[in-house]
């Protein structure tokens, strides 16, 4: 029993990691998306490289680069810090693309309607386009959030004291059956993921109706 409590105690770390990395992505994704959409090649090209690289390199490689690689240059992070940064980088790229997809889905007639009313470029973006784009992007964002939650398990490789790290160490010591321990860890991830998916499906249906197709 103690074994399972010990593993369960890794849950806050898993959650904190997911929430922080997602928050970094949600914020950093905005300027990244704006740069990616810019008419200036000088902004657009580097944004594209950053987004493509962030997504092309496997998350675990990012974690190793930041934790082991950068340590060589003197930039030392705790495992948790490295994990937040690494997953944050990946999140920024994915969420920038989710935002961009949302904006592309909004009819250009909505821009025109705003312009014809004399709204400034900024107001038109902030109050007309962005709220609608967000609604379109929401399912993509939720799918990514679930993937991110599961990817936090990768951070056990750099020693973050989260669910899988604890399950793995308990299994190694043999405090209980490995199968039971790992199944318990798996069940914890499922318990977090499945309700998230259910909530977003319902949100999506409610919000999709309030968007110009």
């Amino acid at each position: 029993m103690e074994t399972y409590w010990y593993i369960l105690a890794g849950l806050p770390t898993t959650l904190a990691l997911s929430v922080l990395a997602f928050a970094i992505g949600a914020v950093a994704g905005i300027p990244l998306m704006l740069a990616r959409r810019s008419s200036l090649l000088l902004l657009r090209a580097p944004a594209r490289v950053v987004i493509d690289l962030s997504r092309a390199i496997p998350p675990i490689v990012w974690l190793f680069i930041i934790f082991f690689g950068l340590a060589e240059t003197g930039l030392k992070f705790t495992p948790f810090q490295a994990a937040v940064i690494g997953l944050g980088v990946v999140s920024s790229a994915y969420l920038a693309e989710a935002y961009r997809g949302g904006l592309m889905a909004i009819d250009k007639l909505q821009w025109e309607a705003g312009h014809a009313l004399g709204l400034s470029q900024r107001d038109n973006f902030q109050y007309v386009l962005a709220p609608q784009a967000f609604r379109v992007a929401l399912p993509t964002m939720a799918t990514f959030a679930i993937a991110l939650l599961k990817d936090t398990s990768l951070t056990y490789t750099i020693g973050v004291n989260e669910i899988l790290f604890r399950a793995n160490s308990e299994a190694q010591v043999g405090s209980a059956s490995s199968l039971a321990i790992l199944a318990f860890a798996g069940a914890l991830y499922a318990l977090l993921s499945i309700p998230t998916a259910m909530v977003t499906r319902r949100l999506d249906a409610a919000m999709r109706s309030k968007v110009a197709q």
Binding site: L109, L117, G118, L119, K210
Partner: protein
Amino acid sequence: MTHKDAEETDVAPASSVSPLPARADPIVRLTGITKQYGRDAVVDGVSLEVAEGNVLAIVGPSGAGKSTLLRCVNLLERPDHGRIEVHGHAVNAGEPTSERQVAALRRSTGMVFQSFNLFPHLTVLENVSFAQRRVLGRSRQEADSRSRELLARVGLSDKSDTYPQRCSGGQQQRAAIARALALDPKVMLFDEPTSALDPELGLEVLTVMRELANDGMTMIVVSHEMHFAESVADEVAVMADAKVIEQGDPKEIFKNPSHTRTRQFLRAIVER
């Protein structure tokens, strides 16, 4: 041209190639408007004037450039040549245009689109109030009370808190008219406002437009609604192949078109 000059009017400047002398102060004056896509002119050297309080209907076959010309008036399309003047605010094609000039033109005009283009994430009331607050700086209370007044005028008092997709096309278009009117435009631009509506719902919209015209609103209406053009418009301009080929009193033109192309177009409508 300054605002003061515009008010003196009646005497058109020498550069104006207006085919008709304005009866009253022209509040819209388009001079030699040309819009090209690649090498094709969609609008080719069109000059038009609309006197304050008048309704100008622009009719003609699809692809004649009617909508493009209308969209030049509020600079949704940037003309390649020519000059646009609305209520004393002028923009010359080819000269650098400041954000303020564009804003002034757009503030003088209200536009109603074929596809309504209401904001789907806002209620009908919010649709009408929103730009009043952001563009005119009205308080929420001021804006909402003005919106309710206008929604009553277009017969939508009971739809204030409804989202656009819960409204019929006719209701959406009337809400769109209220939204445009809420900014107190000097000129209303209608771009085929009934083309996406069945005849019954179209009639609701035309009725609102007719009332608006009776109240003295200056309007430019691109439409295939010939009965509306004939009974409401003070003047009609027939466009074909990027040019205005005929212009004048709608009753005259519909009864006795002088241009073969107009005759052909009108016959197609009658024979439907």
